[in-house]
Amino acid sequence: MTLFRVSLVASLALVLLFLTLPVVAVFVDSSPAELVESLGRPGALDALWLSARATAAALVVILAVGTPAAYMLATRSFRGKAVLVTLIELPLVLPPAVAGIALLAAVGPSGILGGAVEAAGIELSLQTAGVVVALIFVACPFYIRQAIAAFASVDSTLLDASRTLGASEARGFLRVMVPAAVPGLAAGTALALGRALGEFGATLMFAGSFQGITQTVPLAIYDRFSTDFESALALSAVLVAVSAAILLSVKLVHGGEALGVAPR
């Protein structure tokens, strides 16, 4: 073996060790029985249930509004479109703390739209609804980006064909474009789901960390890592399992292509 090959193999081994050891440690630091037992402690189940509900609610909103928006961006060309897409992508690179502050400044109690939100009878701060808003804000761009690419890759003559067969554009969108874009849309949904499940900073700043109301799994892990390490580990193990399942399902559905990790 040449020195070069040795160094290649050594680098890969280091990367693998460094990236997988902490993940493996989550599962082996305590016995499986202890992990399962600690999930039953008060607060842990609350956090899991809240994360599930808030993420599901955020995804419903993201899919319902993001899909037509992405379709429009993928099929129309108009002035300022590039600027618009950049604005939509901005939350992708925003530090979570900045996202939290930005949400507070926009729709927080003393934010620029705070009065209007309050007048509409919606309470966001320190409420589950606030968690949902934070999740939508950070996860939506992941979905929209992927959905634009998915719609753009569908052959546009399919929509033309649908119209010449007597279907309005709205019907063609629902019956042809969305089904044809499903693999890409599913990949986008998985990315948004992964991002929403792991959301921490923006939720903490915007909605706080109250058990059963705004304390999602990541917040619960942070809350107890110094007092109840077992339970923090157990919650982490659940997130690792769910994240792995998401990654795997995307790869299976899409051959990894959607995430840009497919072999060439």
Partner: protein, 355 residues
């Protein structure tokens, strides 16, 4: 009856076309890619709004830019077969065919779709998805889907170009049969003149956004009005300078050397055309003694392409030539690249086209 007038500027293309197709008639427009063929179909279907245009189908006016009238594509009763067929990938063959059948009970939709598929011999593949079908099968699904809506007009964009050579002949005869049966006027575009001649009752040659000549296929082949049309119909086009001869024939001194004789009158700079199947090939030095064939050009074989039982010869003479002979003749003459031959044809098979 279908009438489409369209004037539209699209990039470097200035489309300016006016066509009329009668009931039960198929007008085939043939031209090179970029000539505006697909744009014209899109105007007829309502997928492209021209700067100025008029589209009338039977009693209905679908587009009249002078009155700012435009009917959206979904309310125009037209069957459109797209170049790559545009079958919906997530639907099965029968669901594709049933797509236009809205407001029909589910059972009946399936039955009607199956009936149409069976008509094209596709009944057994009703539950197959497009990606598992061959090109010829996809074409049949596309034709069935087009007919499902009982369209008032038919628009066909290169319906055979997505097929391989072997499937094409059969698909062409199936398509010709559909066109014969259907009463609706049909507008077909293709880049292949022989396809247009086979499928169209009339053929229009379209170049750079304009129809340069229109007529029956044999009219176009016999009397091409320009070198472009002659070339496009598959003829060999040679350029030169013509002068009248005392015997009433016209002699054309070819650019690059050699002379050919034609029965057509003309003078000055001209082009002459002859069809490859009117050219006969003899080995060099064995030209027959004076006969009825007036034109002889020395040439060298550059390429041989087998087309079924024929061979198309690419020839290098004073100007490039092509000849089509039977495979048997090619074998008997022992032709191969580099063979030195004489290409001969009659003055009466030589058309003169004013430059």
């Amino acid at each position: 009856m279908l009438r489409v007038d369209a004037r539209h500027r699209l990039g470097s293309l200035a489309l300016d076309v006016s066509v009329t197709v009668g009931r039960g008639e198929c007008l085939a427009l043939a031209g090179p890619s970029g000539a505006g063929k697909t744009s014209l179909l899109r105007v007829a279907a309502g997928l492209l709004r021209p700067e100025r245009g008029l589209v009338q189908a039977g009693e209905d006016t679908w587009l009249d830019t002078s009155r700012d009238l435009e009917v959206p594509p979904e309310r125009r009763s037209c069957g459109y077969v797209f170049q790559e067929y545009a079958l919906f990938p997530h639907l099965t063959a029968w669901q594709n065919v049933a797509y236009p059948l809205r407001g029909v009970p589910r059972r009946e939709r399936r039955e009607r779709a199956l009936g149409l598929l069976e008509r094209f011999g596709m009944g057994e593949l009703a539950d197959a998805r497009p990606r598992t079908l061959s090109g010829g099968e996809r074409q049949r699904v596309a034709l069935a889907r087009m007919l499902a809506r009982q369209p008032g007009i038919l628009l066909l964009d290169e319906p055979l170009s997505a097929l391989d050579a072997r499937t094409r002949a059969r698909a062409a005869s199936e398509l010709a049969e559909v066109l014969r049966e259907v009463e609706a006027p049909a507008l077909l575009v293709t880049h292949d003149f022989s396809e247009a001649a086979q499928l169209g009752d009339r053929v229009g040659v379209i170049d750079a956004g304009r129809i340069v000549q229109e007529g029956t296929p044999s009219e176009l082949a016999a009397e091409p009005r320009s070198a472009f049309v002659a070339d496009f119909t598959g003829a060999v086009v040679l350029t030169g300078v013509a002068r009248s001869r005392p015997d009433g024939l016209t002699a054309v001194a070819l650019d690059g050397g050699g002379e050919v004789t034609t029965t057509d009158p003309g003078s000055g700079k001209v082009a002459v055309s002859v069809y490859p199947w009117d050219i006969s090939i003899e080995p060099r030095g064995a030209e027959a003694a004076p006969g009825s064939t007036k034109n002889h050009l020395a040439a060298e074989v550059v390429s041989l392409t087998t087309l079924g039982n024929r061979v198309r010869l690419g020839l290098a003479g004073p100007q490039p030539l092509a000849a089509e002979i039977t495979s048997a003749s090619a074998r008997e003459l022992g032709l191969g690249p580099g063979a030195r031959v004489v290409a001969s044809w009659k003055a009466s098979a030589t058309r003169l086209i004013a430059d």
